[in-house]
Symmetry: C2
Subunit: 201 residues, 2 copies
């Protein structure tokens, strides 16, 4: 015996979530079916709505259901500073650390030729168009301190070499091989303030 086919399908569906194995999926399915059908229906509605409505900000590519995100709309940020990050979660981590007052550009990943992820997949054509508008003095390449993140930063640095802008990188202080999203605010803030000129080689 297993559960009924539809209950089994429900448990299977939860496996799409990160870190959810068979036992956790069963607990989730049972919890919703036995104790919180209303909360479960609300979850289903919001997942569906969010996946339909949330797209990328036309300017910085972060996740938003509006054409422009709140941060791009804000008049209180420094247009001369642009911080390039791999993900919205990294952007949030930097914002929560505090200290940076410029704008952002979100790649949604990093270059990965083996997976067929090239420059346009991470919006580098759009980044180039944004640089061409002028007014940017410094670009902080805040990709993850991983092999792929570093390679992506180097690629962007080469792409922007002709633009006459200062390129910088987060100071080491962020742990090598880690992901920005999980770095504590203090470390991240210090790394931001101690950022160094970017060297292509």
């Amino acid at each position: 015996m297993r559960f009924s086919p539809l209950v089994e399908r429900l448990m299977e569906a939860f496996r799409v979530l990160p870190g959810v194995g068979p036992k956790t999926a069963q607990r989730m399915a049972m919890h919703l079916l036995e104790r919180d059908r209303e909360g479960g229906q609300r979850l289903a509605e919001i997942v569906s709505l969010a996946l339909n409505e949330v797209g990328y900000c036309q300017r910085c590519r972060t996740l938003t259901e509006q054409p422009l995100c709140a941060l791009c709309e804000s008049p209180r940020r420094d247009d001369a500073l642009l911080c390039v990050v791999e993900s919205p979660a990294d952007q949030l981590a930097i914002e929560e650390a505090g200290g940076f007052q410029g704008r952002y550009f979100v790649l949604h990943g990093h270059l990965s030729p083996l997976d067929g992820i090239g420059p346009e997949d991470i919006g580098l054509d759009q980044l180039e168009a944004r640089m061409a508008e002028g007014g940017i003095r410094e670009v902080v390449l805040a990709t993850n301190p991983t092999v792929e993140g570093e390679a992506t930063a180097h690629y962007i640095a080469a792409q922007l070499a002709e633009q006459g802008v200062t390129l910088s990188r987060l100071a080491y202080g962020v742990p090598m091989g880690g992901e920005l999203e999980y770095v504590d605010g203090g470390t991240l803030s210090r790394a931001f303030n101690g950022r160094l000129p970017f060297r292509s080689e």
Copy 2:
């Protein structure tokens, strides 16, 4: 800055799942938005479908989208043995342990006067009607070995005292204070085979 309102609502919605705190909820939301929108839509559809369609088996009250569950429909089970469990997960654990060949009755909880959960909320009127049909020789009271589970077993035992059926309880071997769902199959199987006559006092 936080995420956009709809992304924040999505993260909040995941908190309905057991064991999901703010950080896990964020990881789930980001995973679906950034990497698996299709899987996420499928999850939303199945959650909604399952919560609408899955109800209780008319005979044993386990979860099923059919009027009768597969186990109640099966001609290969012993109608003279009835095992009363608190939840479908407990029923599955006993089935997976093997050895029991009778039928089930699922309470979906236990008596809890302080929470306003009385006999009819756990289907005891239906259990009584089932006993009145006759043909049952032994009822195994396999509620959880917790204070509430024991109290519920005693209540049912008193209710069935006049029916002239043997009442039994799982042998200790199941750890006190634990939940059947998490007991390993060997222990559960041994406890089942060593079940003892139920004593009301």
